[in-house]
């Protein structure tokens, strides 16, 4: 038995933050500067009380409706986010009930970030190919805005909140199967992109709350990013990642119809594209309207590529993710 990606839907919170609004907060910035630096015009921001699992829930409901999926056929749910509801129980358990999935459904959380989507697909493929599941619902949903200090202009211009739902299903048709994965980890870069005060090591205490009292306390933690090091990491790791994905799938670069990377930053993506010598029309960027939506970025880009006809049925699409950890992974999928 093989696994393939059957359907993708996504949900954006209704409130958006435009470049114009950011410039009002940061008078030293211009709309053109922000766009040049990030390739983003607006990013959606969640509202108080609407967390990652809510966005994932809305995305799943959209998936069931848009693609006429019978929720009772789902036998495994993976919820991927860096903003879990609780330390216990697993948020995927709460989502099983909320989405009215069968109780014979497996449920796991995957607290990942930028590489969350490719990891979800990798795990779903393993579950299906080992006979443990038939229809895996992967929800990749993140709310980075809740861990960004309001004065961190670079982070506010980059990140947006979103939830995506992807259905991975068993098939006997090998031509549409999800390909082999290449993965990698280098935890020595952990400090360069980290949400401080978000877990059991160095948790938020009274001193922290007092320090950030004027911005609501930053009670879920504070994202800190060394942009130069992350940029260097991506330049260093992505070219060999792509070579490795192609080699594992016995494909040449010319046989890939479309490349869809984690939508980290449009400037970085275009530097990577040139470095990899991939033509512009085979490289998809979808950031203008949504920003960097962390684990939701690849499925959103895939959904948009399919919607606009850039990715057509039967196309081979190389997906590659890289970021927090450091971590990286990718594969080739067939639309």
């Amino acid at each position: 038995m093989k696994a393939y990606i059957k359907a993708i839907s996504y949900y954006l919170p209704p409130t958006a933050l435009s470049n114009k609004e950011l410039c009002e907060v940061f008078p030293n910035l211009t709309e053109a500067d922000i766009y040049k630096k990030t390739g983003i015009k607006k990013r959606h921001i969640t509202t108080e009380g609407i967390v990652g699992s809510d966005l994932g829930f809305f995305a799943a409901e959209k998936l069931f409706e848009e693609h006429t999926v019978d929720r009772k056929t789902i036998d495994y749910i993976i919820f991927c986010t860096e903003g879990l509801d609780y330390k216990g129980p697993v948020t995927a358990c709460i989502l099983q009930d909320r989405l009215q999935l069968n109780t014979n459904c497996g449920a796991i959380d995957l607290p990942y970030g930028c590489t969350g989507f490719t990891y979800c697909i990798s795990i779903a493929k393993a579950l299906i190919e080992s006979g443990q599941a038939t229809n895996v619902l992967a929800l990749t949903s993140d709310i980075p805005s809740t861990v960004i200090h309001p004065e961190d202009a670079d982070l506010r211009m980059l990140f947006g909140d979103a939830g995506a739902a992807t259905l991975i299903t068993a098939t006997e048709n090998e031509t549409i199967a999800i390909g082999s994965f290449s993965v990698g980890t280098d935890g020595s870069g952990a400090e360069n992109l980290m949400v401080k005060g978000s877990g059991t090591r160095g948790p938020v205490d009274q001193e922290w709350l007092d320090k950030y009292d004027n911005v609501g306390g930053l009670k879920y933690g504070r994202m800190q990013m060394n942009a130069l090091e992350i940029f260097n990491f991506a330049l260093r790791i992505v070219p060999p990642l792509i070579e490795s994905i192609l080699a594992k799938n016995k494909l040449e670069k010319s046989e890939i119809n479309l490349f869809v990377f984690h939508q980290a930053n449009a400037f970085l993506l275009s530097v990577l594209r040139r470095k990899l010598k991939i033509e512009e029309d085979r490289f998809f960027i979808y950031m203008e309207e949504v920003g960097n939506t962390v684990s939701a970025s690849i499925p959103i880009a895939l959904a948009e590529a399919i919607k606009c006809g850039k990715a057509k049925k039967g196309d081979k699409v190389l997906i590659a993710a890289f970021g927090i950890g450091y971590s990286w992974s990718g594969t080739v999928i067939t639309i």
Partner: protein, 78 residues
């Protein structure tokens, strides 16, 4: 690539900068339109042309275009 060509090409990468305003001794942080974006442009330029990675420390420890060029050359030799 000598220092003059290096300076010229870096200048061309900085779209907002008038041609001829940057010299090897220019303290790049004092360029009028300097922003953190320029650091990424410099890193990308050096990566593409020399296959050398400039770290955040390399940039922190340099002031002028000549300083960056020297770091690139030293890394290229090693």
């Amino acid at each position: 690539m000598d220092i003059h060509e290096f300076t010229k090409q870096i200048e061309a990468e900085f779209e907002e900068v008038e041609p001829g305003t940057i010299t090897p001794t220019t303290n790049y942080r004092e360029i009028k339109s300097w922003s953190s974006m320029y650091a990424l442009i410099v890193i990308a330029f050096v990566d593409a042309n020399f296959d050398v990675q400039l770290s955040a420390d390399d940039l922190r420890n340099s002031q002028t275009i000549q300083d960056i060029y020297n770091i690139v050359m030293a890394k290229k030799t090693n």
